[in-house]
Each structure stands twice: as C-alpha cells, then as structure tokens.
Symmetry: C2
Subunit: 222 residues, 2 copies
Amino acid sequence: MSKIERKEREKQLRRESILDAAESVFFEKGLIASTMDEIAEKAELSKGTLYLYYRSKDDLYLGVICRGFDILIGKLSEAASPDVSTIQKLLNIGSAYYNFSQKHTHYFRMFSFLESPQFHTMASEELLNESHNQSKRAWDVIIDVISNGIKDGTFRENIDPVQMAIILWSNATAIMKLKDRKDQFWIENLNVDIDTVLQKSNAMLVSTMLTENAKRYYQPKL
Amino acid sequence: MSKIERKEREKQLRRESILDAAESVFFEKGLIASTMDEIAEKAELSKGTLYLYYRSKDDLYLGVICRGFDILIGKLSEAASPDVSTIQKLLNIGSAYYNFSQKHTHYFRMFSFLESPQFHTMASEELLNESHNQSKRAWDVIIDVISNGIKDGTFRENIDPVQMAIILWSNATAIMKLKDRKDQFWIENLNVDIDTVLQKSNAMLVSTMLTENAKRYYQPKL
DNA sequence: CAATTAAATGACTGTTAGTCATTTAATTAT
DNA sequence: ATAATTAAATGACTAACAGTCATTTAATTG
C-alpha cells in the first residue's frame, strides 16, 4: 500500500513549495514586512492552508533558515574533507563561511534571528530544535578539524577544541556581520577594510594556537 | 522671560518620565510584547500623548538604548582614565564592558536592535543618529587607548588602532552575547565555561598586538 | 475674564497573524 | 458506479495593536 507513501511525498512537496514562496517573500522584504497573505498568494494557496503545513510565520522563517544551514553545512563539510593539511582545512573553512556570507547574504542575515528569542515567540519546538541541531552540525565540522589538528601536532595540546571553535567562529561571524551592515555605521567614515580585519583577526587567533613546530611551516600574517 | 525655558524643562522632564515607563515595560516584556497602551498606562498618560513626545515605538526603544549607552560610555571612560599602564587600561575596559553586560543585561541585549534595520523601520533619523553617535563615542574610547599604546611602545607599530578596536570589541561582544543565551543553545551540553573563553580569546588577541619589549612585562595566559 | 495657544485625550482606522466553520476534493466502502 | 467517509483547502472572521486626529481640557496672554 503505497498510497500513504505517495500522500506523504505530496505533503512534503507542498511543504517545500510553500517554503519556496516564503523564501522569496522573506528575501525580498524581511521578516517583519512580509505578510502571510503575500506568501499565500505567491504559493497559490489560501492563507489558511499555510497554517496546515506550518504552525506560524516564525516557523516558516525557521524553515527557510534551515535551508540556509543545509547549504552552509554542505560547504563547510566540503571544505573540511579534502586530504590537505589541518591549516589548509581551517583556511578553507574560513573561506567557505566567508563566501557563504557573501553569496547567500539573505540566509546569513536570517541566522541572527535565532539569537533573539523575543523575535520568535511563535516558533514551534520542532523547528527550533531542527535549527539548533543544524547549527550544532556546523560547529562539529570545525571542532573536528581542530581536534585533529591537536592530534597531528599542528595545534598546541593545551587548547580546548570547543573553546577554540567558539572563538574562531564567533570572531568570523561578528566581523562578517559588521561588513554586511558597514554602510549603516560610522565605520564607513574611517576607511577600514573589513576584509583585512577579518584576515588579520583570524591570523592572530590561529597564530596563538600553533605549536612551535607548526609555526615553522606556516606563519600567519599579523 | 524664563517662561519658555521652564516649558522646555518641563517638556524634557515629561520625555524622561515617558522613557522611565517605556524602559520598565521594555525590560519586562521586550520590544515585541510591549504595547504602547501599556507604556501609556505606566506613564499615566494616554497613548496619543506618547506620540507627542516620541514619533514611534521604535523611537521609544531607541531612547532607552541611548540611556544604556550613556551608562556604558561612562564606565568605559572611567576605565580608560586612571593613570595606569596601557595594558591595565585595556584590561579595565574589558572588565567594564563585561560587568556592564552582566549588570545591565537588558541594555546589553537591546543594543542588538541597532544591528537589524528591518526591526526599526519606524525609527526617526534623529534618534538613530543619536544612538550611532553614542556608539561611536564608545568606540573612540578604545581606539584612543590603543593609539596611545602604540605611541608608548606597548603595541606594535604596524597594527591599526581602528582595526584592533574592531577586533577586540567584536570578539568581546560576540562571546558575551553567547554567554547571555548559553542556555538556549547546544553549548550547554558541552560544559564550556564562557568566561574562560572570553579571557582566552582576549589574551590571544592582545598577545599578538604586543611589542617584544611589552611581552617582557606582561604575558597573557593562552 | 475673554481670547488664544498649547497639551492631552481616546475613539477610530488600517493592518495583519492566526482561527475555524464551511466547502471542495479525494478515498474508501457498498 | 455511487454513496459515505475522510482529508485538504478556503476565506470570512477575530483579536491585537501601532499610529492618527478631531475634540476636549488646561495654560497663557491680552
């Protein structure tokens, strides 16, 4: 009896097509200015139907965020997988994240949504968990690379991989966000190149992680 | 004729008392869940009157944010003023910011509001400018300390004070935010002490800024 | 104390997230 | 094939809320 399976498949397809509509509206107008009616129209469905597939506007937003995570996790895993040195992997991950923030700016911006619980009071546990899980998967990629880097002698033994992952990731995120909204800020008047800042800060952090031996092969430019 | 002056003073007092009401409501419920009616009631005024003093809910929120900035700027200036070594000043500034985030969590959280233009579409130019100016004043304190640190031989000559300020400030902000919402995140399961992470990341960044000479007097713990 | 100006009010409007009784379509049983 | 049953879709409706504005109330001036 594959009737039920087909039903399930169709339901999933509909969920995706609703998400397509939501994504295009959210990308264009942002969370606040987007309306459920507009999303419904784009999805060629009535508003009521949206609520049969997603519990709230916040859930739709989270659904789109999860798509972003899928892409990001793909890029990160890709960057961490080739058979190159630990340093190179870390550099690749950095580039992958940076490129993601540039090519998928909308997703990148949306990620901040997760940081303000007050903005997603209507979000369901399920979708919040899903996004948290994905976020965790992204972190794991980096933690893994750092852990292996300690084993292979690239990084000092007395650093904690989780701590370092937090530091590197937080730093990159913060500075990439700054770049994203640069024009709205006073920074525009101080002719600072944010790309340089990102490079430098990464170099500074990584340099203090390296073993004396690793420093012989790679000298970050401070 | 001080009639006009008195009027002006009274108007300012009213603005402040409205802000008192707004602050207590915003602190309790956050931006979204707070309503203008509730703020009006707390201020013992009608909703219409609020709009004679503030253009929008977003403006009220920005007004409260500016109060937060006042406090923060005070603490930062205080930390940067005593006649101690550059290193000590920088450490004091770090502590001041950290203490602010802990004691004035509400203000600290509200600052994120400035980062998402989509959430303050109704904000007036005036108040946005005011908050940006204040933000700039906070940055200037740090930039100043770093600039002087280069002059007095604490920091390397080839670092850029603005770049370094951005790096240090962004890093601290990002990690303090993480601490603030720690419980909502996967991190809770990984028993990482965020305070340690903050200490470490600061030490790492500062250590790469120091001149060889300065390193003799101060060794950050990595 | 009348006339004028300024401040305050709250009923009203427009917008929108979310609901639910009703309709329409699909599936199953006869 | 067709009736009965179940599932999917609809859109009119509600409640909540930001912001407005004609009207009222208070203060100031002549």
